[in-house]
């Protein structure tokens, strides 16, 4: 699914200088723990989170994540939006809860990000 269609499904307000129709979203990963995102999120995944600080964009940069959705009506900090723009990472704002956004996207066919199983001790 492309990011433009996806934004429609979750009634998202979009902050982006790039064309959303050009960005394909095969997977999504929902998490407020950036440490876990860095450990478990596969490349190409859309990041869904309720945290709005600048390190969310840093995390997305490191992992080549295509876009970020801020859920439950959270307004990202100014520096967060600025860095996202500079990095060419579209930001979507949805008023739905994390659970609702996940449910809507899952139903629409967005697959889960690959999560590696814990290693045997």
């Amino acid at each position: 699914m492309n990011l433009k269609e996806l934004a429609g499904i979750i009634n998202a307000e979009v902050i982006s200088d790039v064309d959303l129709g050009e960005i394909n979203i095969p997977y999504a990963y929902a998490c407020d723990l950036m440490s876990d995102v860095l450990a478990f999120c596969s490349p190409g995944s859309l990041l869904l989170t309720g945290l709005t600080n600048i390190q969310i964009v840093r995390t997305a940069q490191m992992l080549d994540l295509p876009a970020i959705v801020f859920v439950r009506g959270k307004i990202p900090l100014e520096e967060t939006v600025t860095l996202a723009r500079e990095s060419g990472i579209p930001v979507l704002l949805s008023k739905f809860s994390l659970y609702e956004v996940c449910g809507k996207l899952y139903a629409a066919g967005v697959k889960p990000s690959y999560v590696p199983q814990p290693r045997e001790a």
Binding site: L33, V37, A39, I56, T59, M62, L63, E79
Partner: protein, 142 residues
């Protein structure tokens, strides 16, 4: 590639506004040199987790990256409090991060294990009251 590319950054303690800038520069340099993208991502995660550790735990330090023909070597060196029990610090879920760090989404106790998982060679030495040195190597053709 003839001479190795060396990058060195002074990382400021507790400054979450600029944390990640050095790691992003390292990642972009690797990309520019044509290193394959999954290796770039592994390197970025190592550098970023190490950089965040310097910010959160060590009151800053030095982050260094040396890119040679077949490998990247990342070194994070600090004069922070040191790690009393490295084995414990390497356990997933164990954390001593501040509330501020947790509010930013860190401090899940995944940092060091995640650095190790992404490294081909991983070494950490720490002396209480003196500081910590972390070395990670990633090979390009593996």
């Amino acid at each position: 590639m003839a001479a190795p590319v060396c990058m060195e950054y002074r990382i400021e303690g507790n400054n979450f506004m600029v944390a990640g800038t050095a790691s992003n520069n390292i990642k972009n340099t690797l990309k520019m040199l044509g290193i394959q993208s999954d290796v770039c991502r592994r390197a970025a995660v190592i550098a970023y987790e190490a950089e965040i550790n310097l910010v959160i735990h060590a009151n800053g330090g030095m982050l260094k990256a040396v890119i040679s023909e077949d490998r990247l070597e990342i070194t994070a060196e600090d004069e922070g409090p040191g790690i009393p029990d490295i084995e414990q610090a390497m356990t997933e879920g164990y954390t001593t991060a501040s509330n501020q760090a947790r509010e930013m989404g860190f401090g899940a106790g995944m940092g060091l294990p995640n650095i190790k998982r992404n490294s081909d060679i991983f070494e950490i030495e720490s002396t209480l009251g003196k500081g910590t040195v972390l070395r990670s190597t990633v090979f390009f053709n593996k």
